[in-house]
């Protein structure tokens, strides 16, 4: 299941918030856009960027987040973590992670660390279970 499908199915009952955090694989960091890995990743994740530096200012971060939001087209509005990475730190969100928060403000589902633990199917099951029990 793709995030876009989850959003389409549940957005009237669940608030989806995208949180853009520090880049995972910028050109000036742990870059995966080289001749070998770049080809593999482009094949399996064609919308992922291979050509961005890690933003140095909040303006740069918002600009890249906007490009990301446009390119990925999940339908989910993106909010941008501040340069002190405080939300990322509070949720251990880097590089990718999913959560479901209940109406009481408690964590219902805490997904694993992406990319291997990034499982929209698990989030869907958590949403289904939560909505059924509500």
């Amino acid at each position: 299941m793709r995030l876009h499908d989850l959003y389409e199915q549940y957005h009237e009952r669940v608030q989806f918030l995208g949180v853009y955090i520090r880049e995972a694989h910028p050109r000036d960091g742990w870059w995966l856009g080289g001749p070998l890995l770049g080809r593999i990743i482009k094949r399996y994740a064609p919308k992922v960027s291979m050509d961005h530096l890690d933003p140095r200012t909040i303006e740069e971060r918002r600009a890249v987040a906007g490009e990301c939001e446009t390119a990925l087209q999940y339908g989910i509005r993106t909010y941008v973590d501040e340069m002190d990475d405080r939300v990322n730190a509070a949720y251990a969100g880097w590089p990718t992670r999913l959560y479901l928060i209940g109406v009481d403000g408690r964590v219902v589902y805490a997904g694993g660390l992406g990319p291997y633990g990034f499982k929209p199917d698990e989030l869907k099951a958590a949403i289904d279970g939560y909505l059924e029990s509500a």
Partner: protein, 72 residues
């Protein structure tokens, strides 16, 4: 033109970064909020910097799915 040396250098770089980051990555799961924990509240702005959202504003109203990620 991709050369054998390019590919070897790429693999070396990936191994070097992975070694550097793995100890930090291992600690991330331990720091992540768990089911049943209160979700840390936050206020963030959208990509224009004009619209904000506060997680706690949804309390008592609707559940929230949080999607953390970046472009690369």
């Amino acid at each position: 033109m991709t050369t054998f040396t390019d590919v070897v250098n790429e693999i070396r770089t990936t191994i070097r970064y992975r070694k550097k980051l793995m100890p930090w990555i291992k600690g991330l799961d331990e720091r992540a909020p768990k089911a049943g924990d209160m979700a840390p509240d936050f206020t963030l702005f959208d990509t224009t910097g004009a619209l904000s959202v506060t997680l706690s504003d949804f309390r008592g109203k609707r559940p929230v799915a949080l999607v953390f990620g970046s472009f690369t």
